[in-house]
Subunit: 225 residues, 2 copies
DNA sequence: CAATAATCGATAGTAATACTATTATGTTTG
DNA sequence: CAAACATAATAGTATTACTATCGATTATTG
């Protein structure tokens, strides 16, 4: 009984999987338990063998869906960015003032996702934690260029482009819109990671989400708002 | 005939190696060829077996210096940050105006190192390319907390602290000095990587080092200079 | 100068990883 | 009901990430 193909369909580039995991129960388990296991073991120690054991299936069956754990992580990251793009669209649509659109978008990109939305079969809060810690591994790899050719980073680029466009509406002659946005996105991830593991590299402020505050401020100052 | 123990001694936390690679010719070869191989193969595909073959030695001998390739990368990264700290000190010492000190420090952190200094046995330009692409893997790993306990990230933290202190001299009530500096450092690395592999995430400007310009500007705007 | 320690190369071996291939048994669908 | 498809079970391979042992050579020290 799969409650799939939910309201908002998130479409993932087909080249990243061998068999669409959203078309079978086993596939969904791979995604769900994959997220759990990657989070608890870390991507390095995560294997398809362990995953298969967890979901009561076999290694070979998992390989029928994904060519490697690298592509599973890629899939999950693509899913995250598709979902994020949707969120950004929702929160900027119908807002006239580009300054508010921008602020909302930055908040979207930098805030911590709360647990327990239960709209998808995928737990977005958990997924965010994986994206924060592990997702840079999907491009910091020898296969970046090949994967980029296949379009695996397209959604990520779209997200950057979308927010960059808002900055250009505010300051049309701004020379570095993409750098600013990608700095904010990657920066927010790093800061969340640092806050947990290397707090001396960040400034955690009690009772405030310093990450949102800092990057919102940074962007607004950069565009002299 | 090793031309070692050069003028400026870079001291590396001893816990990261089993035997100090700077005390033997084999050790130096491990560092030198290690850098070459990691750059050409990528850290994932780099193995001690391949390294041993390259330097005409054996896997077991390499293991006599480092417990794992992870610690070799950690060593190299620590070396880079020690060297970077020295550079920053040199370029900020005796400069009275904190604004200029800051600008120099940011330039140090964001500029591309040119080839062929030949002061150390280590090629800093090549090392920087490795640090840009691979170094985040030393902390984005399950052993972060243990490695942090052992002090492996101390030099990195010192660098951040040092530059953060300059920002505080300029703006004493600034709430996010560490976030700002670590954002600049990690951001600069990402932008250099993006420029090569995912150019739509950045803004390469012909004839100008956009990375230096962008982050210098960013910092100065953040501190309203 | 001799003893001894350090260093290294050579070889071997292990457990785990990252896969691929084959086959047999269901299960769905047309 | 037959064809097509999905999965489990099993087996197997090449590579990786190590560890252990053992002489031979080289450097250090007493």
């Amino acid at each position: 009984m799969r409650a799939l193909h939910s309201k908002l369909a998130i479409k993932i580039n087909e080249k990243v999987f061998k068999k669409d995991p959203l078309t079978s129960e086993l596939g969904e388990k791979i995604l769900r338990e994959g997220i759990n296991l990657i989070e608890s073991l870390g991507f390095e120690n995560f294997t398809f063998k362990k995953l298969a054991k967890e979901i009561g299936s076999t290694e070979a069956s998992v390989y029928r869906y994904f060519d490697s754990k690298h592509y599973l992580l890629t899939y999950l990251t693509m899913w995250y960015w598709s979902w994020m793009e949707y969120r950004i669209v929702m929160r900027t649509l119908n807002i006239e003032d580009p300054k508010i659109r921008l602020r909302n978008a930055i908040k979207c990109l930098t805030e911590e996702i709360e647990e327990d939305k239960e709209i998808h079969q995928i737990d977005e809060a958990k997924l965010q934690r994986i994206v924060v810690v592990e997702s840079s591994k999907i491009y910091q790899s020898k296969s970046v260029d090949a994967d980029n050719e296949l379009g695996f980073f397209q959604v990520y680029k779209q997200v950057v482009q979308r927010v960059a466009d808002i900055t250009l509406q505010i300051k049309p002659n701004f020379k570095y819109p993409h750098m600013l946005v990608s700095t904010v996105i990657e920066g927010a991830h790093h800061q969340r990671f640092f806050a947990t593991h290397l707090p001396r590299l960040t400034d955690v402020v009690e009772g405030e989400d310093a990450v949102i505050t800092f990057y919102t401020q940074l962007v607004e100052r950069e565009l002299n708002l």
